[in-house]
Every structure is written in structure tokens, then in C-alpha cells.
């Protein structure tokens, strides 16, 4: 019979344990998980990139709902376990669910330690532990103001850097004389402090917090020496305590953590413990690598293999703050029996220190340049005698053996058992083995099969180099395709960084994201211009030199260099006076061709560039505005005549089409956006192959999207149903805004949809009303700056230089 396995806690350690267990013995257990957090398993190491804006929650989910479902695992979210009954072998949650177990895993993790000072319970005082903390910080940061971070360790500094990047004024209080004293020696701590100060973060060391000030909400922090620091947000990151209460109540043996054997078994043989709550070999652990090792050992035991045992290994520490490279490993205290090798380069901000004992590396601190960390770690782990290369050891691996200047060579030279991914304990041989045996070709494949680079991501560069070595030119490190040859960043990364770093000009983007060209190219500049227009509608000044000619002169260039002009005909409706005005313009400017377009409007072709402003002036007098038939933006809204005329019409489709067009005209989108509204399911306006389409029915409006009828042909997907015109408009607009914010430049809505999935879009636009409303509001805000008719602007003289030659050199002048 299948045994029942119950897990208390759904963090990274039990998540990893389950992965191993399902690999080794997929059908051995009936698994039930109780998670106090209302979420799936996500990567807590990546909370700092979420805080700084470099990643989103969705990016850091490890197991999504589908994963639990496909493995038949029952996950109770938001259920804290209240008690364990060891005699009856059951657990009971605060919500009243009781589950029987044959084997139980306690993985309750740890609680943040809150310093017991007055005011520690005030609103605005937070720990830095889970996604709720991060979301609260993000909300507070939106209001700006000052933050104090208590604790200058790994977590505290990542929180400080993130809050600073989010625009807060940040002070770090640290009780010791130098930062990160557990991982860094004083010299590296000093360099780190200097770098943080350069970034505008205040650092106060030897700071003893006496009280947190405020009555209804935190207002500041008072130090023992009487200094007061105003703050509307206080983050405590001074350490963690294993969360052992439930084990203690159940009568299990508890020390600092829940005491286990090296097979992760507690004093009750049916109960195991892994993660930050477990104490093994007298130690509790907080970094992910040893916790994943515990997970591996426990999974083996649960699947019947009792050989693996947990053995202590030093874990390297890295700081996840963009632009600060820091690596520390092992024991670097001074001592009579130890020697050290130090390299300093003050101007480059580089500091390296190796601590040796009996000609073997026992500790390493690297600051500013950490590429050799893996190599030093390898030498330490194998206790390699370094006396032969001592003189040049500190210069790193490339220096050994002479002339290797290619960074690939350094990776090529690593032995197969060299550790590449510290978080997951993956060595080089396992990666090359997986690449060969599974035929992997990209980073995602390596992550899926080996877990390397799947946690904190700091070894991504190494993994990519291994791929490169294995596959040669067949490896395109563009698992993320770069935007263009000017950058290594993909579109999504650039979009995220523009927001996270609040970059508001094209030069700022190119500087901060290290563009390799001085002013970009014809591919990246229009994309960046769009991203900035979209993200900063209020602040960004549109750069016309970065727009394609059609958007620069607001007409469509033709093969002979003349232009075509298409005025808006709202919803495809027109009138005798409009038609007369068009006829007059055609005659007056001797326009050679007039064509009815597929989008229910009229196109005048073959207009000389010099004539454009005069053509627009005449059209403007008749009430026409630009149809933006040239724009990566809202084009037409095609309609049928609806219930105004048609005997089958169910709603006023023409009216809704006109309303949509009047609401949305002028908006820039990643690629062109064409809409249609049909008055009944006979669908005369062909709404089911449009970017966004509406089909009117008796009960309201069906909203469709992601159709295509160009290079590709594709029917639309159904997004949802709206009961009223107002609701239909809100959904269409919110969807457009989601697309504007999320898609890559030139990516049509159906391609974007294919990439992120229809369910995700439904979730955000149909199920999540506050989110829909927020998208809608952002679109409305943006329209305040976008709805200016470009034709009338140019009739009034804007960009005059565009429409006439700079000079005309006559025969006389030019004659020799």
C-alpha cells in the first residue's frame, strides 16, 4: 500500500526533497503538504532581485500549481499546523484539517529574530523573510521617504540596496565595526562600506539600537548614544532562529534546531526534519547549498537508499547586489599557523585574500573580481598543495600555465569534479554529461536537467561557457536573444531594468545597461524609444530620430519615396462632407491614386513629402485627424452596422467601435493594433482574426483577442464576457495596456499571447479586478500625453525641417 507522507512547510528544502523523491520513487508516497504561506514553492534567495525590481514573483516560482497537480500532491496553502499527535500519527492545522501520516517531515524553516527593543511591534517595522515582507516594502517605497535597515549582514545589505534602488533614503545600522564580519575580513568590509556609501546608502557601524520611535507608526530609530534617525520603514535583518516550536510541543529532541541524525531523522523515527529548522551534527544552516544537500539525503532515505549521509562542507557566500562582486569561503581568521596572500588594487577596487595552512587553501575573500572563486574553492576542497604555484596563485587560474587569455580557457581547464553551481552542488562533469546525453542546447535545458544556475543564478556565466565549450558555435547564449548586436540584454531584461532603475532617456539606458555602440542601431533605438514612451508617458521626451520614417513624418513611405495618407474614419463611418473634402484634396494636389483600405477607410497614395503639411491642413479643416495607418499603435476599429440597421444585430456595434477608437487613438503599442466589433456572431466585421475583437451577443459582449490574418492566419482566443459596453471597454483597454507593458517591440499581440499563455492573461484581466482597473488607469494616464493629433501639430509648424529640402542648388550655382 502507498504510504502517507505529510510535510509541514513548503520552502525550498522540502521542495527540492520532493523533486529527488519523485525522481527516485515516483509512486512510493501519497504526499500532503501544509504551507503556512498562501503560496506555492518559490525561490527565497531571489527575494532581493524582486525587491530591486530585476525579477518578478512569477520569475522566482519553483513549482507552480500545475506541478503539484501533475504529481498528485495535495497542497494546503495558508494552513499552519497547530499540533502533531505522535501516538495517533496525525497532524492538525489551525484551520481544522487533520491528516494522518506514516512518515512526517518537519520543514518549518526559521523565524526572523526581532531585537527586543521598545517599539519593535509598531506598524512599519518589518523582517526580510518572505514575499509578504517584500511586497510591504515595495508599497512603502512607492511613497518614498526614509528607511533604516538594522543589520549589515548579507540580507540586510541586499534589502538596503533594493530599497535604495526603489528610491528610498536608506541608512544601515550595524552593531559590529565592519560590515558582513562573518563573511568578510575588515579590509573587504571596508571596501564594501565605501561602495555602499558611494551609492548613497548611509552606513553607521558600532550602532546599538536602543528603541524604535513612534506612536501609531514607526517614525525613527534611536541609538544607544542618543542619535535619532528618522524613518517611516524599519527592516530588521539581524539573524534567524530555527522555528522549532511545533517539534518542541510534540516532545521531540530540540537543541538550537530540531536535532536529527545525519540521515535527517529526528528522535521519533517516523519524523524527519530538513531545512533551517534542522540541527545536524550540532550545526544549523541558513545557506541554500547545505539545505539542498539535506534534501538529497532525506529523499534517498525515504526512497529506501540509506547510504547517503549529510556531511558538513563550507559554503561560499556571494552578495546579490548588482554591480558588487563579493565572494567569501571558509576560514579566514588570522593565526600563527597560517599564512596569507593578499592582492590589492585600490583604483580598481579589487581586494583578494587567500588564507593558507600547511600549503593548502583554507579560506578565501574576493572583492571586486570574483571569477576565480570556483577555482580557489576547488583547490580548497581537494586540499591541493599549492606550494608550486604559490607566487602567482593570487592572480588566479588563468595565470597558471602561461598565456591563457581567453576566459573560456579558464573554464575548459576546470576538472570535471569542480563545483560550478554552489547552491545546488552541481559539478562541471554533471553539466557536460547532461549536455551530451540529453542533447541540451541552452541554459534552460541545463537548468531543467541539472539544476545548475537554477537558484541564485550567479553561476550562469560559467554554465554558458560550458555550453559554449561543448557545443561550439551551435550554442547561442541567447537563451535570451539579445535585442540587437549593440547589447547582450534581451527585450524583457531591458524592459525590466528600465523600470527598476528608472531609466528615462535613451542615453541613460545605453550607459547603465552597457550598450556596446555609441548610439545604438536601427533595431534597438525604435524599441527603446517605445519602451520609454510606454513606461514614462509623463516624463519621456519622444526621440523622433529614433523612430522609423513613417512615425517620424506621420505618413507611409512608398517604394518611390512618395507617401500615402489615411485619415481616421471613426468606426469606418463617413459622410458626404468628408468624402467631398477628400475629393477636393485629391484634385488640388493631383494625388495619383485613391484606395479603399481593408480597415474601412480611404488611402491617398503618391503624395510628395513637401505637400504633406498642406494636404493635412485641408483635411484638418474638414475635421479629419491622422488615421495613424503608419503607427506601431492603434490603427483601425472595423465595425458592422449593428442593431442600428441590421435585422440580426444584437447591440450597437458601430457605436462601441467608435467609442473604442475615440478612447484609444494615439496610443503607441509594441506592434500595430487592429480592432473590430461585430454586431452578431455572423461576424461581418471579421472580429475573430483581429488583434482584439468584440462579438456582440444578446447577453452582452464576447471579448476576443490574439487573432492574426497576415503572415500567419489564426483565429482569436476568447478572453471573457462583458455584460455592458462600459465593461467591454474596460477589458479591451486593460488588455491593451497589459500588452503595451509586457510585449517586446514589434511583437504582435498573438505572438505575445503565445509566449505568456492565455490563462495568464485571463488571470490578470478577467479574474483580478483590481489589477484590470490598474491597467486601465495607467492607459488613461498615458493617453493624456498621447492623444495629440500629429497632423495638426505639423500644420502648425512642428518639425518643419522634415518637409522641405535644406537647400536647392541651381544649375547656375553648380556650373563649373
Amino acid at each position: 500500500m502507498t504510504e502517507r507522507l505529510v510535510i509541514i512547510g513548503n520552502g525550498m528544502a522540502p521542495g527540492r526533497m520532493l523533486e529527488h523523491l519523485l525522481d527516485a520513487a515516483p509512486a512510493a508516497y501519497d504526499v500532503t503538504i501544509f504551507n503556512a504561506e498562501p503560496r506555492v514553492n518559490y525561490d527565497r534567495i531571489m527575494l532581493s532581485p524582486v525587491l530591486s525590481g530585476e525579477k518578478t514573483y512569477d520569475d522566482i516560482v519553483i513549482h507552480d500549481d500545475a506541478w503539484y497537480a501533475s504529481h498528485g500532491i495535495t497542497l494546503h496553502r495558508g494552513h499552519r499546523i497547530a499540533s502533531i499527535d505522535r501516538d495517533a500519527k496525525t497532524v492538525t492545522s489551525e484551520g481544522g484539517i487533520t491528516a494522518p501520516y506514516d512518515r512526517l517531515v518537519i520543514a518549518t524553516g526559521s523565524n526572523p529574530f526581532m531585537i527586543p527593543v521598545p517599539g519593535k511591534d509598531l506598524p512599519g517595522v518589518l523582517a526580510y523573510r518572505d514575499l509578504d515582507d517584500v511586497q510591504t516594502m515595495l508599497r512603502m517605497a512607492e511613497r518614498g521617504g526614509r528607511a533604516v535597515v538594522i543589520g549589515g549582514g548579507l540580507l540586510g545589505l541586499e534589502a538596503a540596496a533594493g530599497l535604495k534602488q526603489r528610491g528610498m533614503e536608506v541608512t544601515v545600522l550595524h552593531v559590529m565595526p565592519t560590515l558582513m564580519e562573518r563573511q568578510l575580513d575588515p579590509a573587504a568590509g571596508y571596501l564594501l562600506e565605501k561602495e555602499l556609501k558611494r551609492r548613497g546608502i548611509h552606513v553607521i557601524t558600532k550602532a546599538n539600537t536602543k528603541a524604535i520611535l513612534g506612536r501609531t507608526h514607526v517614525q525613527g530609530v534611536e541609538l544607544a548614544d542618543g542619535t535619532q534617525i528618522p524613518a517611516s520603514l524599519v527592516v530588521m535583518a539581524v539573524g534567524i532562529r530555527p522555528n522549532v516550536q511545533i517539534a518542541k510541543d510534540a516532545g521531540l529532541e530540540v537543541g538550537r534546531g530540531i536535532v536529527t541524525t545525519d540521515a535527517m531523522q529526528t528522535s521519533d523515527p517516523a519524523i524527519y526534519s530538513v531545512g533551517e529548522c534542522a540541527e545536524v551534527g550540532g550545526q544549523v544552516y541558513g545557506l541554500v547549498a547545505p539545505l539542498y544537500e539535506q534534501a538529497r539525503v532525506l529523499a534517498a532515505h525515504l526512497s529506501g537508499d540509506t547510504a547517503p549521509r549529510f556531511v558538513h562542507v563550507d559554503t561560499p557566500t556571494k552578495l546579490k547586489v548588482t554591480g558588487i562582486d563579493l565572494y567569501s569561503l571558509g576560514d579566514f581568521a588570522e593565526g600563527d599557523d597560517r599564512e596569507e596572500i593578499v592582492l590589492r588594487d585600490a583604483s580598481a577596487g579589487v581586494y583578494k585574500r587567500l588564507v593558507l595552512k600547511d600549503n593548502v587553501i583554507i579560506g578565501t575573500v574576493l572583492y571586486g573580481e570574483t571569477a576565480d572563486g570556483a577555482w580557489f574553492n576547488d583547490l580548497k576542497k581537494k586540499a591541493t598543495d599549492v606550494s608550486a604555484m604559490r607566487d602567482t596563485l593570487i592572480f588566479g587560474q588563468m595565470f597558471q600555465g602561461g598565456t591563457q587569455s581567453d576566459p573560456l580557457q579558464a573554464v575548459a581547464a576546470l576538472p570535471d569534479d569542480a563545483e560550478i553551481c554552489g547552491c545546488n552542488g552541481v559539478c562541471k562533469g554533471r553539466i557536460t554529461g547532461a549536455i551530451r546525453s540529453k542533447g541540451l542546447t541552452d541554459l534552460d535545458g541545463v537548468r531543467a536537467h541539472t539544476k545548475a544556475s537554477a537558484s541564485c543564478g550567479s553561476c550562469t556565466g560559467l554554465v554558458e561557457k560550458i555550453l559554449k565549450l561543448e557545443l561550439g558555435d551551435a550554442f547561442n547564449p541567447a537563451a535570451v536573444q539579445p535585442m540587437c548586436p549593440c547589447t547582450t540584454h534581451g527585450h524583457d531584461e531591458v524592459r525590466r531594468l528600465i523600470r527598476a532603475k528608472a531609466l528615462k532617456t535613451i542615453p541613460a539606458v545605453m550607459q547603465e545597461l552597457e550598450w556596446s555602440t555609441s548610439c545604438g542601431c536601427a533595431k534597438c533605438r525604435p524599441a527603446l524609444n517605445y519602451y520609454l514612451v510606454c513606461d514614462w508617458p509623463e516624463d519621456y521626451r519622444d526621440d523622433y530620430q529614433s523612430r522609423f520614417i513613417n512615425e517620424r513624418v506621420h505618413a507611409n513611405i512608398q517604394k518611390d519615396g512618395t507617401y500615402s495618407v489615411v485619415p481616421r474614419m471613426w468606426g469606418g463611418m463617413t459622410s458626404s462632407s468628408e468624402l467631398r473634402a477628400i475629393a477636393d484634396v485629391v484634385d488640388k494636389f493631383d494625388i495619383p491614386a485613391v484606395k479603399v483600405t481593408g480597415g474601412q477607410r480611404i488611402d491617398m497614395l503618391g503624395i510628395r513629402k513637401e505637400d504633406l503639411p498642406a494636404v493635412w491642413a485641408d483635411l484638418g479643416k474638414a475635421g479629419f485627424v491622422s488615421g495613424q495607418a503608419y503607427a506601431k499603435g492603434l490603427r483601425t476599429v472595423k465595425t458592422c452596422v449593428g442593431n442600428t440597421w441590421c435585422r440580426f444585430g444584437t447591440q450597437d456595434s458601430t457605436g462601441l467601435g467608435i467609442r473604442l477608437e475615440k478612447f484609444m487613438w494615439g496610443s503607441w503599442t509594441p506592434a500595430k493594433l487592429k480592432l473590430a466589433v461585430s454586431g452578431c456572431p455572423r461576424n461581418c466585421a471579421e472580429a475573430t482574426c483581429k488583434d482584439i475583437g468584440v462579438i456582440c451577443v444578446d447577453s452582452g459582449f464576447e471579448i476576443h483577442f490574439a487573432g492574426a490574418a497576415g503572415l500567419d492566419i489564426k483565429g482569436t482566443e476568447v478572453l471573457g464576457h462583458a455584460a455592458t459596453e462600459d465593461e467591454a471597454l474596460e477589458i479591451v483597454v486593460a488588455l491593451t495596456q497589459m500588452y503595451r507593458e509586457g510585449a517586446r517591440y514589434l511583437e504582435r499581440i498573438y505572438k505575445w499571447t503565445k509566449r505568456i499563455g492565455v490563462p495568464e492573461i485571463k488571470k490578470q484581466i478577467i479574474d483580478d479586478l483590481p489589477r484590470r482597473r490598474a491597467f486601465f488607469d495607467r492607459f488613461v494616464h498615458s493617453q493624456r500625453f498621447a492623444q495629440v493629433d500629429p497632423w495638426s501639430e505639423r500644420v502648425s509648424g512642428k518639425d518643419k525641417h522634415e518637409f522641405k529640402p535644406m537647400a536647392v542648388v541651381g544649375y547656375q550655382e553648380a556650373a563649373e
Partner: protein
């Protein structure tokens, strides 16, 4: 004697932009790059005759608006895999004025 023709002020040409000059021998594109240098080339893409002045200016190149050929402003040659070239016209800057070499824009008429 070398004769130069004044065709306008540097500031008449937008930075990273271009203007066109009509001459008896056809249109000439005048380009001003991000580093404030000025180039002049025949305004006809060697591919299908596209008006290069309507392209996006980047580095010392312009991308043709019709089919995205990239043309070097310095040599007039197509970049990358494309082959072809347009004529270049010597330019001189003199106290904020742009001057074109008369012989270059009159070349065809004289021939």
C-alpha cells in the same frame, strides 16, 4: 580653384538626423551624426533607390527606410552581406556652416 557651396547651418540638421539638398545632379543627403560630424552622400540607396535621408542614423551609418540596408556615411558602401555603394560628396564645416564641394555635385553636368 576648389569651390565650396554653402548649403546651410549645422543646426539646420537635427542631431542623429539628416536633410536633403536638391542639386542639378539629383538629391544629396546631408547627415549629422551623434558625434557632430557631417557627411554627404547621394540620396539613393544602391538597392532600390530608397531615400536614405529618411533612414535612422546610427554611428556613422544610416539604415535605408525601404529594406533596411545599412549604408556607411563615410564610404557610401553597403554594410554586412549587402553589396553596393552610393557616391560620397566632400563636406567642409566652416564656423557653423555646411559646405559641399561644388565639383562633386556638378560632376555629372560637367561630364
Amino acid at each position: 580653384m576648389t569651390i565650396w557651396i554653402d548649403i546651410g547651418a549645422l543646426d539646420d540638421v537635427p542631431l542623429r538626423g539628416s536633410r536633403c539638398v536638391a542639386t542639378p545632379t539629383g538629391k544629396v543627403g546631408v547627415f549629422r551624426t551623434a558625434d557632430d560630424r557631417v557627411f554627404a552622400i547621394r540620396n539613393e540607396c544602391p538597392h532600390k533607390g530608397g531615400p536614405l535621408t529618411e533612414g535612422i542614423v546610427h554611428g556613422h551609418s544610416v539604415t535605408c527606410p525601404l529594406h533596411n540596408w545599412v549604408i556607411s556615411l563615410e564610404t557610401g558602401e553597403a554594410q554586412g552581406a549587402d553589396e553596393g555603394a552610393v557616391g560620397t560628396i566632400p563636406v567642409r564645416l566652416d564656423s557653423g556652416r555646411i559646405l559641399l564641394l561644388r565639383a562633386a555635385i556638378a560632376a555629372k553636368a560637367a561630364a
